[in-house]
Amino acid sequence: MADSKPISTPHSEKEKLLAMIKVQAQADQDYMSKVPYSSAIGSFMYAMVCTRPDLAYAVSMVNRFLNQPQKEHWKAVKKIFRYLKGTSDVGLIYGSHPDCCLTGYSDADFAADLVKKRSLTGYAYTLGGCLVSWKATLQPSISLSTTEVEYMAFTEAAKEGIWLRGLINYLGINQEYANIYCDSLSAICLAKDQVHHDRTKHIDVRYHFIRSERRIKVHKISTLHNPADMFTKPVPKSKFDHCLSLLNVDCWG
C-alpha cells in the first residue's frame, strides 16, 4: 500500500457497493478473514470525525458491511487509503469573515442503500465560512419519495442547526436563526407552507416540527452549488473539488 498510486476521490464514481447475497468463494472468505477491515474503518472514522469531511461519504459506504465484508468492500477500503495517501495534508481552513453567520446545507439520496433501500442524509454547517459540523448517515426509515427523503434530511439538518445556534448564541454571537440551504424545492414548500398532498399524508410529527420552528430559515440552492452533495453521492472529481472549496477544505498554504 505504501507505494500505491494516489487517487483524487475516495470513492468510485460509477458503482455503488452492494452487500452481496450470493455466497462467497472459499478463497475469498479466507482472504477476508485475514484482512483488518473493521480496524481500518475505525481509523478512517477518527480522521473523518475530526478534520476530514471529504471522507464522510466513502466511510459511510464501507461501514455498512462491517458484519460481513467481502472482497469488493475491501477494494473500496483500499481506494480510501490511496486517496488519503495523496491528500494527507488536507484539513479545515478557518479564516475571518465579515459576518459570522451560521449556514447549513442539506442534501439526500433516495434509496442509496441498494439492498435495504434506505436513503442517505447529508448535511454540513459553516460558521462564518468555517466548516464546523457535518454528517453523512443512513436514514432510519424507508421513504416513499424523493421529496420525503429531502424533507427528512432537512429535518435532521435543522435539529443540528438549532443546537449550533444555541451554542454560538451562548458564546456571545447573536444569531436570530440559522440559514439552511436545501436543493429540493418540493421539500422547501413542504417545510414553509402547509402544503397538503396525497403523497405527503404519512409524513408525521417528527418531520413536521420544522414547520413551526422559528430558529431556522430555509433557502433554495442549486444542486450545483450545494456542498452537501458530496455527502450523499459518489460525485465526480470536478464536483468533489468544488464542494470542498465551498467548505474551505484544502491544503495549508
Binding site: 485475514k34 481500518a40 478534520t51 476530514r52 479545515l92 479564516g95 451554542l167 451562548y170
Partner: protein, 396 residues
Amino acid sequence: MGYGDGVKGYRIWSPSERKVLLSRDVIFDESHLFHPKLEVPIAGTQRCHSPQEKDVEFTAKDSEKGGHFETSPVVLQEGEKLEDFSANESHLAAEPDPPQLNSRINQRPKRVTKPLERYGFEDMAAYALHAAEEIDSNEPDTYQEDINHPEAENWLLAMKEEMESLYNNQTWKLVELPKGRHVVGCKWIFKRKPGLSEKEGIRYKARLVAKGFSQKEGVDFNEIFSPVVRHTSIRVLLAIVANQDLELEQLDVKTVFLHGRLDENILMKQPEGFEVQGKERYVCQLQRSLYGLKQSPRQWYMRFDNFITSQGFKRSLYDFCVYHNKVEDGSMIYLLLYVDDMLIAAKNMCDIQNLKILLSGEFDMKDLGAANKILGMEIYMDKTQKRLFLSQKDYI
C-alpha cells in the same frame, strides 16, 4: 464444581448434606491434595472422600476416558451455605483466593496454543495497522513480571515516585478491614515514555490503578456519567477564534483524576510491593479518586465544575464542557474542557494569564502555551493572515 448459571457464586457439593449448594462464601483449601486412591466412581461425575463435619474435601472428575476436568480440591470452612445467597450479601467475606492449580492438575497435558492466523499481511495496509499495535511492547504487564524484568531498577524507581505522589496527595489512609466489606483490587501499569528533552532520555512511568471492574454498583459507585466535549464544539470555538482573532492557549492537568474527591467509601487492597510492614492485612480507604475507578472521571468533572462556576464562569446548556465569562472590558473568555485538556480563548493575553494563575492555584497544571494539538487535531495558526488550519497530518 464450577460456577452457578446466571448468578455470581460457586456451585459446591456438600457431602455432609448430600446436595449441591450455591455460595459466594468459599475458601479454597490448597494445602490438601486429594487422593486418587480414594476415588470411587459414583453415578455421574462427582466423587468425594473423608467427609469430616464441616471440613469437607471433594473433587469432580470425568470418567476414565475423558481426562480430568478443571476442578481443584475445595474445602468449605464454616461458610454460610445458602441456597439463596442474595440474603447473604450484607456480610460477604473477602473475595475467595484464586484457586491455584495443584500438582496433579499440572501434570495433565497442556493445550497447545496456536498463534492466530489473522493478519496474513496481504498488503501493506494490513501490515501497518498490525505493526502499530506491536510497537509499544516490552513493558512489564504485572508486578511479578516487573521484578524479574531486565530494567527492574528503573521500574522500581518509577513505582516509588508514584507512591510518593500518592502519599503527598493523601490519596488514602490505612484501615483495618471491616468485616464483610468488599475490597477493590489494584494493579501497577508500566509505561516507557520518550523524554521531554534530548538529554533526559527515556522516562519510566509507573501508575497505580484500581481495578474498577471489581466495583459493585450501589456499594462502590452510584453515578458514573461524565460529559466530554463534542468535536463540533471545539470547531465552533476555533471558528470563533479565527473570526474574531482571539488568543488561544492550551493547558493540561497533571494526574487529573487524583483531584476528584470520593462520595463513596471505597476500600482497596494495598499496592503490590508496597505493603506496610506489620499492617499487611490492612486495606486502603480511598480519600481521592484513583485512576481506574469507575467514578473517577465524574468526580473530577464535578470538582472542576464546582471550582470554575464559583469563579463566575457560566456553563453552556448546549455543551456541558464549554464555559465562558465576561472580563472587565466586556470581551469574552472561553474555556473548553476535555477531561484533562483545556482550551482557553480570549481577546487579551493578560486575561488568559489571570485564568491560568487562578487554575494553577487550585489544580496541578501544566502550561502548554499556544494550542497546537487537541484530540489528535493539529492546529496551525497564521496570525498575519488571520487564518487557522486544522488537520491530522501526523495521524494520517
